[in-house]
Each structure stands twice: as C-alpha cells, then as structure tokens.
C-alpha cells in the first residue's frame, strides 16, 4: 500500500511526545454523536515520581465496545484500572483529574469505592478463578453483597453462565472446584463472574493474552454477543482482535491518548501518520 496516498497530518508527534510534549487528542467527530457512559477529563496519574497518564480526555460510549491499543507500557492498562479504582490499592498512586460514570464522579472523597466497584465488572489478563466451586465463583459478587436467597443465586448463576457461553460445559459440575477447568473455561467463568452483578461497564484487561487461539476465538465471539447489552472497554495487544471486536479504538502512546475514533476509520483511514504506522506494524 502506498503510504503517500493516505490522508495524514504531517508531524512527527511521537518523537516530540517522547521528549515530553503533550498534544491534544485527535478525537473523531463521530464520538460526539454517542451517548457517553464514562467521561474522562484532564486525567493524570503517576506512580510515585513516574507519571503514567497525561491529560487524558475521552468518553466511553454507552453500549459499545471500545478498544484501547498501543505499545507496551503506554498506559492502557493503567487507564482501564483507574476506571474501577483498583489502582488505589497501590499506596504510591497519585491522581489528578476527573472521571464521571453516568454523570456521577468516580474520584471524589465522598465516593464509596466498594459500591463503585460493584457497578463495574472486570476481567483480568490471567484467569483468576477463586479457590471455590464454579457456582460460588459466579455468585461471589452477590455473596459479598449479602444475598442469601437460593432462588436468586441459582437464577443469577445460570443467567451469567449462559451469558458467558459456558453454561453447557459447567451445568453438570457447578459444585466442583473451578480450579480444575481449562484456561479458556476459567476465563469465560471470570467473565460470567464479572457480569453476574449486571455491571454498567465491563472492563477487560487483555482477556485473551494467556489463552490459546481456540479459546481466544470463543472469548471474541462472546464479546460480540455481549455487545449492545453491556458497555465494554477492552485493552488488547492484538490489532486484529481490536479490529474484529470493537466499535471504537483509542490509540495510546507513552501515557497520551493520541487518536480516538470509530474502529473502521482508525484502522483504514487514520487521521494521523503515527497511528497508521503503529497499526500497520512499523513500530511498537
């Protein structure tokens, strides 16, 4: 493909970013027409002396799948983990800026972090089922919420497992340990657990990076099924995956959000040369 024929804005931002400069994000117009679930404004985060996120401004559209891509260490996982404040567990983290979930602030002294996290589901890089039965794993969010009614728990368990497309495989072994399942099954179980409490947003931190291609396929199909029902933010290293599963793609570099737009545009017709370079594999 002839690079010269593509539209682009001539600049070499990446070197300047590396030198410490910050540019406003190239946000595509299409995003302004979406209904935002999450609004991030002027968000900065640092681990001790090292700043990891610089002036992030973005919205996460409701009911859509948003992919965060970028080279290793660009801060996409940090941004994701800031949304449910799981970064707070590290004592060195300092935050400056604002996030709003459905119009309510995420970072405010009055916010009950535990209640906030109950409104979100998270799926981690490595499957992390708890050392208990499949059933107990799925209903864990309800258990810690104090739900006791067996009928409710049974219903939620089946619905979540069906939602995570793992019901058929597990319905006969609900009360066996979850640790005996394969990696792919474990990850789908973790997704079932994440959607058990019907979260407003589902955060996925490279959910397929520890899985084989077949298991990856199943997870991607599952994300496609969940699209529309849930708002999903997914961090991925895999460009094809981002292209396949997401509606919107955000390209990050060294803690800055560089370009953000509809996936088809970002992949086929990015506004910035740097995005083009990354997506075609010139660097990163």
């Amino acid at each position: 493909m002839d690079v010269q024929s593509l539209p682009k804005k001539k600049s070499n931002r990446l070197t300047e970013i590396a030198a410490g400069k910050t540019f406003p994000t190239e946000t595509h117009d299409v995003l302004n027409r979406e209904e935002p679930l999450l609004e991030v404004s002027n968000f900065n985060l640092s681990y001790g002396a090292k700043q990891a996120l610089f002036d992030i401004n973005m919205i996460i559209p409701k009911g859509k799948v948003t992919a965060l891509v970028g080279p290793s260490g660009c801060g996409k996982s940090t941004l994701l983990r800031s949304i449910n404040r799981i970064n707070d567990l590290l004592s060195t983290v300092r935050i400056n800026g604002e996030m709003k979930l459905n119009g309510e602030p995420v970072y405010a002294p009055s916010v009950d972090v535990i209640e906030l996290r109950k409104r979100m589901g998270m799926v981690f890089q490595k499957p992390n089922p708890f050392p208990m039965s499949v059933y107990e794993n799925v209903i864990y969010p309800l258990r810690i919420d104090g739900e006791r009614k067996k009928a409710v728990l049974d219903e939620v368990c089946e619905r979540s497992l069906r939602g995570a497309a793992i019901w058929e495989e597990t319905k006969d072994r609900l009360h066996e340990s979850a640790l005996g399942m394969s990696g792919g099954q474990q990850q789908r179980l973790c997704i079932a657990r994440a959607i058990a409490a019907e979260p407003e947003v589902l955060l996925m931190d490279e959910p397929c990076s520890a899985l084989d291609p077949i298991a990856t396929n199943k997870i991607e199909d599952l994300i496609a099924d969940l699209r529309g029902e849930y708002t999903i933010v997914i961090v991925t290293h895999n460009m094809q995956q981002a292209a396949r599963v997401s509606d919107y793609t955000a390209f990050m570099y060294l803690g800055r959000l560089v370009e953000y737009g509809a996936t088809s545009t970002v992949f086929q017709n990015p506004h910035l040369q740097e995005t083009q370079d990354y997506i075609t594999g010139r660097f990163g």
Partner: protein, 559 residues
C-alpha cells in the same frame, strides 16, 4: 567478506581451557548428597537406637543363678555386659555382667556386678520366678508353698504355682477395687467436706465470724462433717473387708540364698516362671507389660508401671497450645502482611519475631511462671478462689499456664509460616475479589485465608512438634513427677485447667536423672522416648492429612 573467506582466514581455533571440575557439577552432587547422607544417617541412627531399646525393654528374659568362687549365690536377669580394666597386680581386660537381682529389702541393692572370672557355675533353675511387686521392686525366688487363711494348701512348687494362678486374678481385682475406693470415693467425700468448709470460710470473710449468717453456715458445716464422717467410716469398713479377704492368700517363696519369704498375693502385680516360658508365653508377658505401660499409672517412683497420665497430659497440653497459638499467630500475621504499611517499623517487628524464636526456652518458662502463675493466676485466685487461700488454685503451675507458655514459645513459628503462606496467595486473586466489590475483610476471609490455609497448617504442625517435645519451660509452669489426677476427668467441672500434669518429655528427664533406681529406670527412658516420638508422629500425621485435604480443596496447579 564472505563466510568462505572468513573461515579460511581464521587462525587455528584457540584451545579451550580444561573444563573445570566444578563446572561439571559432579563434585557438587557429591558434596550436597554427602551432607544429606550424613544428616540422614545421624537421624536414622538415633531413631534406630531408641527403637531397638524401646522395643526390647519389656521383653521377659531368662533368670540365671550364679554361684561365685566365694560360695555366694545370686539370681537375676542379665541387664548388660561390659569389659573393664582390673586394678590388681597385672592390668588385664576383664568381662563383667550387670545382674538385676532385685530383693531390695534383703540386699539393699537392685543390681549387682558379677565378674565373669568369679563365676563358678551358672544355671537356669526351672522354678525361678520373677515377681513384679507393688513395692520394693522386683523379687526373684522359688515358690515353695501356698497358704490360704493360715492353712497350707500346697507344698510343691507346681501346686503352689497352680494355686497362685487360681487366686491371683480375683485378688488383683479386689486390689483395684480398694484403690478405686481409696482414690475416687474417699476423694468424693473429702471434696464434699472441703466444699462445705470453703463455703463457711467465704461467709466468714464476707460477713464476719459469729454473725447469724455464719452461725447458720456453721451448722450446715457441722452437719456435713457428721454425715461425711459416717460415710467415711462405711468406706473404711468396706476397704477393711476387702483387705482382710486379700490377706488370706499368701505365696511362700525362698530366695536363692535360702531365705523364706511369705508374700501376700496382694503385693504381686505380675509373676511368671521365666525359664519355663515358651515364646508365646513371653509374648503374652510382653504385651501385658505394654498394656500396663500405656494404660496404667506409674508405680515405684515412676520406674515401673505405666505412663498413661503422661501421655494424656502431653496430648492435652499440645492441643491446648495449638488452640491458643494458631488464632493469635494468624491474626498477627494477617495484620503484618495484609494491613500494615510496609516500612521500617514492620521490618523491625518482623526481625524481632524471628529473634524471638531464638530465645532460650527456659526464659519463656521463667516468664510464664512470673506472668501467668504469679500475676494472672494469683489475681484469679484473689477474685474467684479467695476462700481457699493461702492454698493457690491458679496461682501455681498448671496445664493451662504451661499451654500458654508454650504457645508464646511457638508463636514465631506460626507467624512466620502464616506470613509466608499469605505472601504466596497470588495478588490476582485479591484484585479479582476487589474488582467484584469485595471489602478488604471479605477478601481476606473468603479468598486469602482459605487459600493460605495449608500453609497455616504447616505452621501449626511445626509448632506442635516443637511444643510437644519441649521440657525445660514445663518444669517451671506445671509439669510434675507424679500427678495421677488427670486434667480432664469425670468430676465436675470436668476440665481442670489449674491442675499440674505429667508430661512425657519431663517424665524422660525424671526417669533418666532423678530416679533413685537409675539402672531400672534407664530402659524405661528408651521406651518412653519411643512413645513420645510415636505420639508426636501421630499428631503430625493427623495435621498433615488435614492439610492435604485442604490443599486439594483450595489450591490447584491447574492452568
């Protein structure tokens, strides 16, 4: 430059230095393997020694009669043989044997050395009988006749022995009955009187002497005293009757030196004609001795009889200790690992805990005596048992204070291993729980603790092994030479946490170093040590099984 030319132009390959011996790894295999082999052989050697002696002690051996050159006769069992240097004109290496001759009331000795070159004749008399008695140690002699209520009913060894076999069982039963009456029934009566006396004393302390309340209580006391005296009398009569019945049976014996001895059957615990026994008969004696050893109280300053109170005391103390140390250790470790901000203070605390494990155990004993017995125990006495003062109830050594002292001693082990177990719980699990909206405590309770449970159990196993084998601090806080009253029994309130107790480890020390009949006690040291090791092994086995089950349930290597 092409590869071809590079190859051509390259100088002859530099000769490689000889491969270092160490680089091959073989010497290291020998060194490490050798270290392991030495450690193992020492442990196996020790265990084998204990096992060999412990197993053999109770086996009945032949009774030999020695006639020495000066004409004296000795009869007994050979305990061991050794060589020694004689001190006469020419120094020679001679052999001698230690013979257990018993009959302490005549000879004043339990054992005697007999030089091999002094022996004129050595025989195995057919009717040599070994008698284990309730007092004075063993007796070796020949049965002569049997007396029943003053009348001689048998005059040959065979007939006398037959009569002995006929009556001994019933006599032993009556002796047990007497013992039970003397300890349990008389004890019960005495406790009633004591309770009444304490009630009177309590009234005296609160209301004062000769007040109306005291008067009525005093009358009650006098009444109790009267009924107790009556009850006591009936008991004495009962015991007297049994004694009289038992004293009718007497076995007449003759010692090797020809001295006639009339031995009441009541004084005989066990008797057997050692030289007539078949292997099966010996096995019978062997197992009956083991049974006595495991399930009876000690006799003869602990050198004979059983060690049941010591086994019981050891097990109860170890369990109490685990009950005390595990919750505290786990709580401390949880705070250090899960809640405390890592920093200088936490590091200092951690180092201090590790150092605590190196404090000599006797120091813990002194602390336990001062803090638990004399401070806490004395305060409890003053608050709740004031009427029995100056006799201390909790203000002295007891099984509760001993357990708590050992719990302190083993606390570092539990904290360190629990901390390691907590550190080994993957962070991803904690994050998973937080992401589901779990609070810190919910995460710890539902995810971290179950997952760390096998590691915590390991700490408990180590603590139990350490605690059960510890002796020095126990001497100060409650282990005693003889305590036939168990800390748990059928007398209310059933658990007597203030009682002193017997402990196998202390029993070993007492047998080995405090016994006046040390030669007789020595084999029992091995047997008791064997028992202690087996006991610790069993306790550990139990804990290990529990841990394996937990591990299967909570930790898996899948994925």
């Amino acid at each position: 430059m092409s590869f071809q030319s590079l190859e051509n132009s390259a100088p002859a390959r530099r000769k490689r230095a000889k491969v270092s011996l160490f680089a091959q790894g073989e010497p290291m295999i020998w060194l490490t393997g050798g270290g392991l082999a030495i450690a193992l052989s020492m442990i196996i050697g020790l265990l084998a020694l204990i096992f060999y002696h412990g197993i053999n002690t109770l086996w009945p051996v032949a009774v030999l009669q020695f006639q020495t050159l000066d004409g004296s006769l000795y009869m007994g069992e050979i305990t061991r043989a050794e060589s020694f240097r004689s001190n006469d004109a020419e120094v020679r290496v001679l052999q001698r044997r230690l013979v257990r001759t018993g009959n302490f009331e005549f000879s004043g000795e339990h054992f005697i050395w007999i030089n091999d070159h002094d022996v004129q004749a050595m025989t195995q008399p057919e009717w040599a009988v070994v008698i284990e008695r309730t007092a004075w140690g063993r007796f070796y002699g020949f049965p002569e006749s049997f007396t029943l209520a003053g009348e001689t009913v048998a005059i040959t060894p065979e007939a006398a022995w037959e009569k002995f076999g006929q009556y001994h069982g019933a006599v032993s039963e009556r002796r047990e009955k007497i013992r039970e009456l003397e300890t349990k029934e008389v004890g019960r009566v005495n406790r009633r009187l004591e309770k009444s006396r304490l009630a009177l004393r309590a009234v005296e302390m609160s209301k004062g002497l000769n007040r109306p309340a005291w008067q009525s209580e005093h009358e009650k006391f006098l009444e109790t005293e009267k009924s107790v005296t009556k009850e006591f009398k009936t008991l004495q009569e009962k015991i007297g009757l049994l004694r009289a019945e038992n004293s009718r049976y007497v076995l007449n014996l003759k010692t090797a030196q020809g001295k006639a001895v009339a031995m009441p059957l009541e004084a005989i615990v066990r008797a057997y004609p050692a030289n007539q026994l078949s292997t099966l008969g010996k096995a019978g004696i062997y197992f009956s001795r083991w049974q006595e050893f495991l399930f009876n109280d000690p006799r003869e300053a602990n050198s004979e009889g059983g060690v049941f109170p010591a086994i019981f005391g050891t097990v109860i103390m170890t369990l109490l200790m685990s009950l005390a140390v595990v919750p505290f250790g786990v709580m401390a470790a949880l705070y250090l690992r899960e809640y405390a901000q890592p920093g200088v203070i936490v590091s200092a605390v951690r180092i201090s805990i590790n150092n605590l494990a190196g404090v000599p155990s006797i120091v813990f004993g002194v602390f336990g005596l001062g803090f638990f017995c004399y401070l806490i125990g004395a305060s409890i006495d003053e608050l709740f048992f004031a009427s029995s003062l100056p006799n201390p109830t909790f203000g002295k050594g007891g099984i509760l204070w001993a357990s708590l002292t050992l719990a302190l001693l083993t606390l570092p082990v539990v904290i360190v291993s629990t901390e390691e177990a907590l550190a080994a719980v993957p962070n991803s699990m904690r994050e998973g729980s937080y992401a589901c909206g779990g609070s810190k405590w919910q995460t710890i309770k539902r995810i971290v603790l179950p997952r760390a449970m096998p590691g915590i159990m390991t700490g408990m196993i180590l603590a139990m092994a350490r605690g059960a084998g510890e002796v020095a601090p126990l001497m100060l806080v409650g282990a005693v030479k003889l305590a036939p009253e168990l800390p748990v029994d059928s007398v209310e309130p059933f658990v007597h946490a203030e009682r002193s107790f017997m402990h196998l480890g202390f029993h070993i020390y007492d047998l080995g170093f405090q016994s006046q009949n040390s030669e007789a006690a020595k084999p029992m040291v091995f047997t008791t040590t064997l028992l202690l090791i087996v006991l610790i092994f069993l306790l550990n086995l139990l804990a290990v099984r529990l841990r394996t089950r937990l591990r299967r349930k909570f930790v898996s290597t899948a994925f």
